[in-house]
Structure formats: structure tokens, C-alpha cells
């Protein structure tokens, strides 16, 4: 009997520990010495040190080196997110380079952890697509290699790291999505959600201390309620009030919760809403998207190349592809607004049909700096549970 009980106790400890020990990233990253000079491109020039295609002898040399590597390790790219499925297929079709997309539903922090933990293996990520917090932190801890694509000058200065450690790739605005069959009076502003007619209907896509879109939703609500990019508190208070009034459903909204009718009004990025609408239509849900006029908040994701990429040339070619007119238009077709969209529009190379399909935006959107996002996340860490509990 004693033995069995000791067994139970041990199991309990194992259970608790396995949960807490889920990801201990810091400890084993220090010892491996940077194995960046990988075999494939070692011949003529070291692709891992190239900061432009010209460093390698031009685009043709880059393409040749990338083809020689033959593989690109991407990470955390959901096929249905910003048209990534089509983008990856197009890249493979054009260059014959196979793409491994590890952990498609991973988060930005998962991507940074993968760079640290898988360093030196051939499974390590070559390129990442991360939120601003992870881009800044990854650049500061030396995880990224600087690189400037051919169209570097077309990315606005405020949207890139001056050395090219990271650069905005695509973004959008916080939008309200709703099931037009269930919501008879569609909301057009965030403030109008505070109404008994929307009882048990309004949701975010997650916890604002974890999900970027949720924190952005809180900031948008702050803008709509007398706050500012520097003061997210009114946004947290707004959701607190919605919760008290029974309007806010604190369920992490997914297509499944939308389809089941649990979250008929969902606040999320417009490009995710728009692509969800296509999927939901097939399931009989009439999903509409409106960008609220009172909380016009925009945000971008970022590209970066891993400093220890096992396929350094393929990684660089991937960026060149993404920032070509083809790559930018593929994002646009996924209803995401690519970073070089203003330049494309000026040059007349933007896909007109895709442009027309974007949700309408009236007014001047506001973009938060990383410091403002950090301040907002701190407020959320200390105040979200208190306000909505």
C-alpha cells in the first residue's frame, strides 16, 4: 500500500512539474557556439553573412545558392492566415524549394524559442513571422541576421529596423466581425457594443496578455473611450464594463465558437476576419466585417531571418520573394495590407480586385510603438483579470 501511494505522490509531482516545465528556454542556448557557416553556400560566399542579394553576387547567385540548399524551414505559418498557404505554394512552384512549416499554429514566442533551442540542427527555423514585441526582443538578443531586400527603400522608415534585423511585412486594422443572421443591428463602432441587445455576444480572440490581436482590441477600445496609445486603461475598463453588463463573453473566439453561435460578435484583425468569412461562408455562416470608426487601430507583423539559419540563402530568397510585387499581392489577396502597398499603388502594380475587397476604412489609423505596446501589456497583466473577473 505504501508503495502504491508513493507512486501516486510521485505521479502527482510529475504532473505538476511537467506542466510547469513546459518550456525552459534560457538554459541550454548559451553553450552552443554559433554554427552559422553551413555547408551549402560555403563555396563562393557565405550566405549567412549576406546583408543584401548583391553581397552574394546578385539575385541570380542568390537563387542558385538557395536552390542548392533546396529547403526552407518556416515556422508558425497557418495556411489560412494572410494567404500563407498560397504564398508557400507559389514560392515552391517558382524556385523548386521545399518549405517545412513547423508548428503552424505556434506563437511568436514559440518562434523565438525554436531559434534558441534548435540552433545548430537542420530543423531550426530559417525565417520567422513575429509580432512587434518578439521582433524587438529577438533583435536585442541577437537572434536575427540583418538583411535588406531589393525593395528596401519602399518600406517606410517607421516600419523597419534601420539595420534590417526586422521589417514590417503585412498588417491590418482591428475590426468587428459579426454573424449577419444573428446580429440584426450591426455595430459600427466599438462604443456601440455596450448595449443590452448584444448581451452574451461580444468576444476577443484570446487573453490580452497572450494574444496580440486581443491586446490590440483593448487598445482600440481605449482609443474609442477617451484613452490613447499611451493609456490603455480605458480600454481595459471598457471590457470590464461589457463583462459586468453581460455583453462580453470571455471565451477565446475561434471559427468553431463562431459557427456554434457562442461568439456572434468577434473583435480581431480585419484580414483574419475577412479570410475567416470565406471559410465560414462554406459552413453556412454569413460573416461580415466592419472596421470601427471610433477605434481605428492598426498593427503589423514582421519578417526576420534567423542568425543561425540552416538554409541562409533560401531564407534570403524567401524575403526577396515576399517583398516582390508578386509576394506583396499574394498577401493582399489574403486581405492583409502588405508593407509596400503604398509603393505598389503608386506604381500601379497592386492587384485591383484584391484592393477593392478590403474592408473600408474611414479616418486616420493609429499605430502603437513597441514602448506603447509594452506599456499596454503591463497594464493588461496587472489589470485585465481584476477588471473582467
Amino acid at each position: 500500500m505504501n508503495r502504491r501511494l508513493t507512486g501516486i505522490a510521485a505521479t502527482a509531482v510529475v504532473l505538476a512539474l511537467s506542466a510547469t516545465a513546459c518550456s525552459s528556454s534560457k538554459t541550454n542556448s548559451g553553450s552552443t557556439s554559433g554554427g552559422t557557416s553551413q555547408g551549402a553556400a560555403a563555396g563562393a560566399k557565405d550566405a549567412s553573412k549576406a546583408t543584401t542579394a548583391a553581397d552574394l553576387g546578385g539575385m541570380d547567385a542568390l537563387v542558385a545558392a538557395a536552390k542548392k540548399e533546396g529547403t526552407l524551414n518556416a515556422i508558425a505559418l497557418p495556411k489560412t492566415w494572410a494567404n500563407y498557404g498560397a504564398i508557400m505554394d507559389a514560392f515552391t512552384a517558382k524556385y523548386g524549394i521545399k518549405i517545412n512549416d513547423a508548428n503552424p499554429d505556434g506563437s511568436s514566442q514559440d518562434e523565438l524559442n525554436a531559434i534558441k533551442q534548435q540552433k545548430g540542427t537542420d530543423r531550426a527555423p530559417d525565417v520567422v513571422d513575429v509580432g512587434q514585441a518578439a521582433a524587438t526582443s529577438g533583435a536585442a538578443s541577437g537572434l536575427f541576421a540583418p538583411y535588406q531586400v531589393a525593395t528596401w527603400s519602399q518600406i517606410a522608415d517607421a516600419q523597419k529596423d534601420s539595420q534590417g534585423l526586422w521589417y514590417n511585412d503585412y498588417g491590418g486594422y482591428i475590426a468587428i466581425g459579426y454573424d449577419a443572421d444573428k446580429v440584426k443591428n450591426p455595430p459600427t463602432t466599438l462604443k456601440s457594443l455596450d448595449d443590452p441587445q448584444y448581451k452574451s455576444q461580444v468576444a476577443l480572440n484570446g487573453d490580452p496578455t497572450k494574444a496580440n490581436a486581443a491586446l490590440s482590441g483593448v487598445l482600440a477600445a481605449a482609443l474609442a473611450n477617451g484613452g490613447s496609445l499611451d493609456n490603455a486603461q480605458p480600454g481595459i475598463d471598457f471590457f470590464g464594463k461589457l463583462k459586468k453588463d453581460g455583453v462580453f463573453v470571455p471565451v477565446a473566439a475561434t471559427q468553431a465558437t463562431i459557427q456554434s453561435g457562442t461568439t456572434p460578435i468577434t473583435i480581431d484583425w480585419d484580414y483574419l476576419q475577412a479570410s475567416a468569412a470565406t471559410d465560414l461562408k462554406a459552413k453556412g455562416v454569413n460573416w461580415k466585417v466592419v472596421v470601427p470608426s471610433d477605434g481605428l487601430f492598426g498593427g503589423f507583423y514582421n519578417q526576420a531571418i534567423s542568425a543561425s539559419a540552416p538554409h541562409p540563402a533560401a531564407a534570403r530568397l524567401w524575403e526577396e520573394f515576399l517583398y516582390s510585387a508578386d509576394g506583396q499581392n499574394l498577401w493582399l489577396k489574403g486581405m492583409a495590407r502588405p508593407a509596400e502597398l503604398p509603393a505598389l499603388q503608386k506604381a500601379g502594380t497592386a492587384d485591383a480586385a484584391a484592393l477593392a475587397a478590403l474592408p473600408a476604412v474611414a479616418g486616420t489609423p493609429q499605430f502603437a510603438t513597441q514602448d506603447q505596446m509594452t506599456a499596454a501589456s503591463k497594464l493588461a497583466v496587472s489589470g485585465w483579470a481584476k477588471a473582467t473577473g
Binding site: R4, I8, K26, V130, S260, A380
Partner: protein, 323 residues
């Protein structure tokens, strides 16, 4: 067996272990027949340790190494320098509050799960062991005990959520759940959801102990004039107490570490420690705070460690009768 025991012990291996010293060879109550051989300690031979090696290696790799990593990282800052700030920060709000809520949820769901699970187990143990009820309940428990995460959250949303099937039935029957204060995303709601896997888990771990209670012992006690109440108070209860407490501990740890279900159902509005660890370890918003997560992990280990110590003390007390 009893007489030959000393012969098993090779000379000069060393002093008897404390367990051996504390465990007299005399028959221990009604269980001696079944468990006497197991319960009696024997000196360990070096060859026996060889059999332990795979388990020890397993524990070292999957428990020792991660625990070491968590504990050491908890005392470092993001640049790798030694600091106490992670462990002190995580003692303050909002983390302190999250520990209170996490412990509250774990205790509530463990106690309710243990009591209800035991009741169910007692009810089922009355059924024929090879009969349909017995087999159906144990098989179902084996499945349900490990059903968790996002699917579980969704199952509850689809039944008891604002648009859930049961919610709608009750609505059409004139009973509005929400108006009566029921939602899935508060403490009571989460306890209800957790019971979904806690009760079957309790049943699974307590069943062998219940099966070990022989009907003859109750018959013997009754024939000696004990009432049913006296039997449970003096014989059945004390026999079941140690496994019950052990199962309670397991349920506590199970709930304490659960994460995905609570996240999907509350998006942080019910602050739980695993959710906070998730935010710093694998989120899109906070960066460079992994060591806060490690410090939270360290405190979780401490909490479970304290529970294990309390359990051991309690168990020693309740098991005294058995020696």
C-alpha cells in the same frame, strides 16, 4: 515466507533501512494476508538497483533535468545574471492573486471530484465485477479522465454556453441559466468543467483500493457485533483513508496544472498561474520575461511539494493503525 525473510538478506549489506525498521514482521491487521509480502521491507541487494536504473534515468531526464532548468532559470535575469527579482516579483500581485485563485480552484475541484468519484466508485463496486455496469463505468472513466484541453472547453460551450444545447432546452422550459447567475467562465463554471475529468480520474485511482476491501472483513466485523457505521469508522474508513488522500493529492496536482481548458473558457478573466506562465512563455505580447514564467513554475513546484509533505504527514498518521 515470514520465517525465511532474514535469509534473503545478504550479510554485510548495511544497516536496515528506516522503512524496514519501522515495519515489524508481525501480521498487520486484516490486510496481512494480501499485502504482507508487499508491505514487508527487505534489504536491497545491489542487483535490485539495476532494475531501478531505467526508472531512475527516466525520472532524471524528464523530471530532474526540467526541474533543474526551471529552478536555475528562476534565479536569473534575461541576460543570464543572478537575481532574486523573478521570485520576489512573482510573490506580489497579480501573481500572488493568481496563486490564490489557482489553489482555490484546485482544492474545490479536487475535493468535490474525490468525494463524488468515491461515491460513484462505491456505487459501482456493488455491481458484479464482470458485469456490464462495472465494465462500462471503468472503460468510460478511462476515456473521460484524459479528455481535456480545447475540445473539453468546446464541449461545454456547446452544451452549457450561452447558445448551448442544454441552455436552450432550459430556456424553452422557462429557466434562464444566465439570469440565475450561471456562466462557464467563473470559478463555479470552471469547477464544473474540471469535474468532468476529475471524477473519472478519482474513480480510476480509488477503484483498486475499494476492490481490496474484502466483503469477508465486513461480514467478520458484523458477526462480531459491529454496526455498519462502526465497520466504516473502524475498519473500512481507516483502510481507505491513505489511498483516498493520495488520490486527492493527485487530483489537486491535476487541476493545478490544467491550462488549455481554462484559457479557452476565460481568456485570463479568471487568473490562473498556468495561464500566466503561458502568457510569458508562449505568447505574442510579452517578450523577454520567460524567467518570470520559470519563477512561477518554481512556486508551483513549491506548492505541490508542500502538499506532498502535508500528505505524507497525514498519511503517516492515518496509516499508523495499519502497522
Amino acid at each position: 515466507m515470514t520465517a525465511s525473510a532474514p535469509a534473503d538478506v545478504p550479510a554485510g549489506v548495511g544497516e536496515p533501512t528506516p522503512a524496514a525498521a519501522a515495519s515489524p514482521l508481525r501480521p498487520a491487521g486484516p490486510r496481512a494476508g494480501r499485502l504482507g509480502r508487499l508491505g514487508r521491507a527487505r534489504r536491497t541487494r545491489p542487483a535490485d538497483l539495476l532494475g531501478l536504473a531505467p526508472f531512475a534515468a527516466y525520472v532524471a531526464v524528464f523530471l530532474g533535468a526540467p526541474a533543474y532548468a526551471v529552478i536555475t532559470a528562476a534565479f536569473k535575469d534575461d541576460a543570464g545574471h543572478a537575481t532574486l527579482s523573478n521570485v520576489t516579483t512573482t510573490l506580489k500581485d497579480p501573481y500572488r492573486h493568481a496563486f490564490t485563485v489557482s489553489i482555490e480552484l484546485s482544492v474545490l475541484s479536487a475535493v468535490l471530484g474525490a468525494v463524488l468519484g468515491l461515491a460513484l466508485a462505491i456505487a459501482v463496486s456493488g455491481a458484479r465485477r464482470d458485469g456490464f455496469v462495472h465494465r462500462a463505468v471503468t472503460t468510460a472513466s478511462g476515456v473521460l479522465a484524459y479528455f481535456g484541453g480545447l475540445p473539453l472547453a468546446f464541449v461545454f460551450l456547446a452544451t452549457l454556453g450561452p447558445q448551448g444545447l442544454v441552455t436552450k432546452w432550459l430556456n424553452s422550459a422557462g429557466y434562464n441559466l444566465t439570469q440565475h447567475g450561471f456562466v462557464l467562465w467563473n470559478m463555479a463554471g470552471l469547477v464544473l468543467v474540471y469535474l468532468y475529468f476529475q471524477i473519472p480520474l478519482m474513480l480510476l485511482v480509488i477503484f483498486p483500493a475499494l476492490d481490496g476491501l474484502r466483503p469477508q472483513w465486513e461480514e467478520a466485523a458484523r458477526s462480531l457485533g459491529a454496526s455498519r457505521r462502526q465497520y466504516w469508522l473502524r475498519v473500512g474508513g481507516p483502510l481507505l483513508a491513505p489511498p483516498f488522500l493520495g488520490a486527492l493529492l493527485l487530483l489537486f496536482a491535476n487541476a493545478f496544472a490544467a491550462y488549455a481548458t481554462a484559457y479557452a473558457l476565460s481568456t485570463g478573466s479568471v487568473p490562473l498561474v498556468p495561464i500566466q506562465i503561458g502568457s510569458v512563455m508562449s505568447g505574442n505580447v510579452l517578450a523577454g520575461q520567460e524567467n518570470i514564467g520559470n519563477a512561477l513554475g518554481l512556486w508551483m513546484i513549491v506548492v505541490v511539494g508542500l502538499v506532498v509533505v502535508a500528505y505524507t504527514l497525514l498519511q503517516r498518521r492515518t496509516a499508523r493503525w495499519l502497522r
